[in-house]
Every structure is written in structure tokens, then in C-alpha cells.
Symmetry: C2
Subunit: 345 residues, 2 copies
């Protein structure tokens, strides 16, 4: 079915379907589905043109000379953080902050169990799970606190990255609101979601695989209000780690979390009538690459490990611009998409 046929089919369903389908198809007609690749950092003015177009790009090797890129191997990090306790997200499936089927068959929003672990123990678990075929481990661990952790929990490492990304700092006239360090392995996947931030992503070790949708594809992602739950360790009373399993605990008093339930990598299920109109963009970041993820873009992120068995990245969140027309218009798409359909004639 061509996009225009799809738009015509959608029109038969209800009054808003045709404009929504036309919005998505028009966008794709006017925009490439390939990520632009630069070979050096843009100037602030060049960067501002991408911000104005809300369009991603990757700078191949843009961070290859950073000290972090050069030095953060497993041995270095283990030694440097040998006395550190760090916050770790623990899940059974690598599904921190992800739509997940609970035991009753309901899709809930699963948050990880969080606990402090010694950094050497944490990174040994990650790497053995990835590289040792005889490794016994029933859970997935991911250091993924997105709370400016590189200027707090991991501040010992902060001098080895840039304090801000110069082209972004100058163009956006601000310092980052948060700088986050991510350390995980290939078992963790970040589910499709979006953030109200301009995001500069720097790959340090291993690779990240992004699947991307522009903000106006909201009608494609099947956003649903999900009941929140979190994993908790449930012991059998006998003591010891081996006796424990991770069970989902519903957060009864918490509000529902509106969250995308369509997965572009499994695109035949949880569809909306617009999902097939989306043209997901894909990009893989290699070590030393720098990536601009514009504000409000949907992104799903999976990981491949370095030979040592880790994936390490740093990202810079800059406040997005809420004035101007983009934020109200993107909210409008969501509002229109949630208007109940007309009863069929």
C-alpha cells in the first residue's frame, strides 16, 4: 500500500485520520530517512541550522580525541573506581523503563530494581556475562541513572570528558542541564521513548544502535497509559543471591505512565493505523562518534559490546526551546490523535 493509498484508506475511518496520515507522509516526502554524517564537528551556526530543522546528524569520530575515548577501558575504569559504590538498574530481561507483560498478561511500565553495588563487582558481572560462556547470571545490570550522574556519582571521571560540547553551548547559550554516563552490555535495551531535551550523545566503548522517529510520528507509536510497576528482589528466605528472583511490584497509588507500545523492530504488533506510515531512521554509533538527537525525537537504543564486554557512552542534555511553535504543535498532534473517533455511519 502506498502512503497515499494509506491516507485514503484512513480517511474512510474518521475525519482526523486523513490529516494525520497526510502529516506523516508529507514529512517523509520532505525529509530524508538517512542520518546525515559529518566528518567534523559543526560550527555553532551549522548546528543551529540542524536545531532549527529538528534534524539529527552524526559526527563520525567527533570525540575520538577525548581522554575518555582514549582511556576508559575495563581495566582503567575498574582501577579508577575501585572504591566506588554505584547505582545499578537490575532487571530480569534488560527491560528498565519498558512496557512489559506482567504475570496476568497486562502490559505495565516496568521500572528496574535499583541498588548500590561496588563498581568493580558491577563491571565484572557485565563483562563476564558478555564474554564468558559458562557465566551463571540470571539478571541484567545497567548503570543508567539519568540524573546528571557524571557530575555527581561519577564525578571522579568528569575531568576526562568535555564539560560541555562547545558548538552546542555556544549555539544554545547554555551549559548542559545534565551529563549522564551509561555503562551496560548487550543484554539491555532502552525502549522507544522521547525526552524534552536537545541531546548530544558520545560513544566511548562498544556500539549503540539507535532507531529513530520524528516527534510528529506520535500517532504511529501507540502511546498507552501503562500502570507503573518496579522490580524487587524476592528471596525464598534461605538467604544468598541464588535464592532471589526479581518480581514486578505494582505501584498502586502512582499515576499511569503514557508510553509508546509500538516497537519499530517488531512492527507487526501493537500497531496503530498509522504505524506503517513511519519510516524509522537507523544509525549505529562507533567508539568516538558524536550524535545529535533533536528534542522530542523517539529513540530506541540497543547496544553491542567492545571486545572487553562493555558498552560505555556519555550524553549531554541541553534544555530545549519551549517558545516558538514546535512544542505546542507536537503537543497538538498528540491531542488530536487522542480525540475519540466519530461513530461510523
Amino acid at each position: 500500500m502506498t502512503p497515499m493509498m494509506a491516507a485514503a484508506a484512513a480517511q474512510r475511518d474518521d475525519g482526523n485520520a486523513a490529516p494525520i496520515a497526510e502529516l506523516i507522509t508529507t514529512y517523509h516526502e520532505l525529509n530524508s530517512s538517512l542520518i546525515e554524517e559529518l566528518s567534523e564537528e559543526p560550527s555553532p551556526l551549522e548546528f543551529m541550522r540542524y536545531v532549527a530543522r529538528n534534524t539529527p546528524f552524526v559526527v563520525r569520530g567527533g570525540a575520538r580525541d577525548w581522554q575518555a575515548t582514549k582511556t576508559w577501558d575495563v581495566q582503567y575504569l575498574t582501577h579508577f573506581l575501585r572504591d566506588h559504590q554505584v547505582n545499578v538498574a537490575v532487571t530480569p530481561l534488560g527491560n528498565a523503563d519498558a512496557p512489559t507483560l506482567d504475570k496476568r498478561g497486562n502490559t505495565v511500565f516496568a521500572k528496574p530494581h535499583e541498588e548500590d553495588q561496588s563498581f568493580p563487582e558491577f563491571i565484572e558481572y557485565l563483562t563476564k556475562q558478555e564474554t564468558d560462556p559458562n557465566f551463571q547470571g540470571s539478571e541484567i545490570r545497567y548503570a543508567q541513572t539519568q540524573n546528571d550522574n557524571l557530575r555527581h556519582e561519577y564525578r571522579a571521571l568528569f575531568s576526562q570528558v568535555q564539560r560541555s560540547v562547545p558548538f552546542a553551548r555556544i549555539a544554545l547559550q547554555q551549559d548542559p542541564d545534565a551529563i549522564n554516563l551509561w555503562i551496560g552490555n548487550s543484554r539491555s535495551v532502552t525502549a522507544l521513548h522521547r525526552d524534552n531535551y536537545e541531546n548530544i550523545y558520545v560513544q566511548v566503548r562498544g556500539r549503540k544502535h539507535f532507531v529513530l522517529l520524528p516527534p510528529l510520528c506520535q500517532p504511529c507509536v501507540n502511546e498507552q497509559p501503562l500502570r507503573p510497576a518496579h522490580y524487587a528482589r524476592q528471596g525464598d528466605g534461605g538467604g544468598g543471591d541464588d535464592d532471589e528472583t526479581l518480581e514486578l511490584v505494582m505501584e498502586e497509588d502512582a499515576d499511569d505512565v503514557p508510553f509508546a507500545t509500538w516497537d519499530p523492530d517488531n512492527d507487526e504488533v501493537n500497531t496503530t493505523k498509522y504505524s506503517h506510515l513511519a519510516s524509522p531512521m537507523r544509525v549505529t554509533l562507533e567508539p568516538g562518534d558524536m550524535f545529535y538527537l533533536p528534542a522530542m525525537w523517539y529513540h530506541k537504543v540497543s547496544q553491542s559490546c567492545s571486545e572487553e564486554g562493555v558498552c560505555v557512552a556519555v550524553n549531554y542534555w541541553y534544555d530545549m526551546e519551549f517558545s516558538g511553535p514546535l512544542y505546542p504543535l507536537v503537543s497538538f498532534v498528540r491531542g488530536i490523535n487522542s480525540v475519540p473517533e466519530k461513530p461510523k455511519a
Copy 2:
């Protein structure tokens, strides 16, 4: 009625009314209704920030040193163009390209009669009509061809303005698609409309009064498909200008022109249920001022004359960016606003 009350009232009417009202009120909550005033030209990067936010600004005195600003008085122009024939738009009411009631009481889209006139005769008519209380003249004249006239019809004058506006040329990486000269008097008003161009407006003589609405206020302006018509001189057969009147001639084979019919200066008539949510911005350009009118902004323009009785301006049209989300989203607002309402329950 507050905006939120209005939004609630609109919600009772049909499913799309609430999101449309929320779009307009959210935009106004996040954006000032005052035009930003700069005292010197922005850098290309500073300009690009305004383009990214699709937000207008005025540079007071930004063109005060241009040769045009210094030299284009009536005597100079009359002498310089003494042998030139120029295209003149002629209307009975100063209503070139404007919604107009025809004799049957229908609102049509009235285009001017166009004819070539000697420049000295044209400008003498303009200035006498403005300054001579005994002037006998039943029509309104306006040199307003928007076809790059300053590089063609008026190219003799072109060396006296900038070939391009440097901050815009550098930021937008292009030369202007069109540079237009406008010469008229206070009798002409340009009706509320929008253009798919980034527009830099330079006031040379007299003053221009802009009334502005952002693109997402489309639901406020009561766009209607108007039958096109043009004025034509109708003689009584006796010869001589005094025997002629301007009559509207319908263009029977032409397509309807979709055009705004709400006038923010007469805001109680031709309203939509959203018109009262608009917060029109107003700015008056003084001689030597430079104004950025962002792409797709609605603008109504009236004029005041210099002591000599003319209003002279130059504008630079740069192609707008059609990639990125803004153009599809603004089109989407129009599409949603044209979806028929649900029947009332």
C-alpha cells in the same frame, strides 16, 4: 472569558475544538506578544536562533545608513526614474488582493487593475492625494509588484540597497529569491495573509504598521475559498479618465482563492470560535528600521506617509525551509481545522 474558559466552551462543541484552542493558548502562554527590539543587526547565529523559534524581531535603525534610506525622497526618485514606465496596481479602495464585497453582497478576492504609468505621473498622484486637500482622484494607486521588481523593473535603483542582508544570507546560505520595492500612500492596505518566505523588511520612507499572527493561528483567521475577481476600467464611451470607473470582473474559469476573512482590526466580525484566542502582535516600522517577518506568519500591513506623502519600503524574500517539522505541522493545523464538526449529540 479567559482562554481556559474559552477552551472549555469550545470543547463542548466538537472533539477537535479543545485541542485547537489549547494549541493557541499554549503558544501564547509560552511566547511574548511583544515584538523583540534590537538596536543593531544580529549575527548570523543570533538570527538563526530567531529562525529556529519562528519569532519576529525589529532592528531599530538597522538600515539607517543605507544609501536608499538617505536619498530616496520624492524629488530624487522622480528625477532618477523620470523616463521609466512602472506597473501600478489600481483599486477604488486601496484593496489590492483583498476580500471585498461585490455588488451582490458576496465576498470575493479582489485583485487590482494593473497598468503601466510614467513614474513621475504615478508618484505625483500618490503625493497629491496625500497632501493636497483639493486633490480630485477617485482611485488608489500602489506600486506593489512582488516579482523581484527591484532587480528588474526598478533595477536602476538596485545599487542603492544591499544586494542581500548579510546576516540572513550567511545564516540561510542563499541569496534572496526576490527583492521587492513598494511605493504607495496611506490609502492602501495589504490584507491579512501569509507567505512561504523568510522575509526581511526595510522601511525607507514613511511608516508601515504591521499586525501579526503566528502560523498556528490559522483557525482564528476564518480562511474561506473566495471567488477571484479583478478590477477593470469601465469607460462610458466619452473618453478621458474622468469618465472611467473601476468595476469588479469575475474570473469565471479561475479556481477559488483560500484567504483569511477575519480582520484583527475589526475583530467582532467574520470571527471563528477561535478568533478571540488570538493575541495579535503589532509593530510600526520607522524609516531606517529593519524587520524580520518569519515564514508563514500572517500579516496585515497599513501605511503612514512621510511629509512628502509617500511610503517606500524594500523587502527581501528568502526561501523558507520546507524540511523539518514546521511546514507539515502548520499544514496539519489547517487540515484539522477543515475537518467537519461532529453532529451535536
